[in-house]
Homo-oligomer: 146 residues x 4
Amino acid sequence: MDVATLFEQMPFAQHVGIEMREATDGRAAGYIELEDEHASAPGNGVAHGGVAYTLADTVGGAAVISRARKPTPTIDMRIDYLAPGDGDRLEATAELVRYGSSVAVVDVTVTDGEETQIAEARGVYKTGGGDGANAWQDADSQLPGE
Amino acid sequence: MDVATLFEQMPFAQHVGIEMREATDGRAAGYIELEDEHASAPGNGVAHGGVAYTLADTVGGAAVISRARKPTPTIDMRIDYLAPGDGDRLEATAELVRYGSSVAVVDVTVTDGEETQIAEARGVYKTGGGDGANAWQDADSQLPGE
Amino acid sequence: MDVATLFEQMPFAQHVGIEMREATDGRAAGYIELEDEHASAPGNGVAHGGVAYTLADTVGGAAVISRARKPTPTIDMRIDYLAPGDGDRLEATAELVRYGSSVAVVDVTVTDGEETQIAEARGVYKTGGGDGANAWQDADSQLPGE
Amino acid sequence: MDVATLFEQMPFAQHVGIEMREATDGRAAGYIELEDEHASAPGNGVAHGGVAYTLADTVGGAAVISRARKPTPTIDMRIDYLAPGDGDRLEATAELVRYGSSVAVVDVTVTDGEETQIAEARGVYKTGGGDGANAWQDADSQLPGE
């Protein structure tokens, strides 16, 4: 199964309506057709901030996994909103800006599919450490004093 | 209508299953009962990062609006993931750390409803400028050269 | 006095050795010649993270002020480090990605002056509210309960 | 040599005037006595944003190294400014919120040494991968296509 298909089968990505275009060689792209359920207020036609974020995190993760070929949990992500998402869709493209043995850094741009930039996000994903379905469950969880 | 009810009626908050507990005096709290649709992979029982983010952004916004009493769009938010969200629910509490005439800063903590901290988020929300259903549509959009 | 000169006269910018190239129409550029005093360990020849940040915050602020023509305090900034700053200099270019009546968003790229990207930063600066030498001193400081 | 002493001997920390109080068991504290050289404009008595950031990054790094016992480069840091640093000093305390085999997450609070909170920062530091004076120089630097 290719990475794009894998991401479309994520239950929450399906629930939010994410369609993946591609995820290869450290780049990925996907989109959401905006429906009433994505709105931030009844009938206002503006997507909730969580829609653009979920798209950015998903497409960003796909870019990393296309390179890492194993689960790469998000460590942190920052999103800056630049314009309201009030068009017919949100489109996102993600690109690796650094790929390391411990972490990868990804830039994601979200547009309305036309000329308007809706948001920019930058995320750090874990590339080292644990394997398996949940990469957090390695020798990773101890805090000072534990 | 009180602020907590207003936020529960957001279409995307409903779609994701957010329940608000309170939103008063610059503090807010809410939660999501985790279901299969929130998972990051089929049957893995771990919430997608967009679930915790959408909860954090929503509860954070409710904390600001409980003080501002008008729409306060998110300018930016950063989320740091600290543990997998693999329990029965995600709970979030938000608190204003700065409230100004232009922007407000909010800290949000997301837990599993028991002892495990799942994520921490910090967001900046717009408190000044435009009014109405979409506060971005003020004299705000010009970029250099436009 | 032009904006670039104004920023070179900032005491801390002088202390860190920032030289401004330009600051006009929402764009700015500057650099630091790296010396022993910028190192993160004695003799290691790698600039401390605070050097790249101080350059990014300063050049970013200059980009905003070149448009705003009044003090624009930094609200928040995130910096991602991509490679060690172990060359002869750090160079930064800043560009406005959004300019609004309340806040502006700026992207800053820091390189070694040649081909290596050292860091990327994104900052939010205040463009609305108070005037005067310290724009924080407006009606901005009240917190819930005050 | 203890970690606090090690950090005081960082050339850039000395240049900026950082004094370390402690760095043990995943916690660290330090301060800067504010002088004219730290100002953001001649004679305004307000510290440049780079001063609080450099203190936060340094004290945050000390908290991580007190646990890791090897170099731990900063991967990213976000700082939110809450009030102008216009007092006699800046004080910072850092605490680990997550310590893993790949990365650690640290929260830093910066105050004026009295009751006013000046800034909050959150940083991610690398704990896995390369050793030696510069932990970036491991198998870490390849980008897609290289």
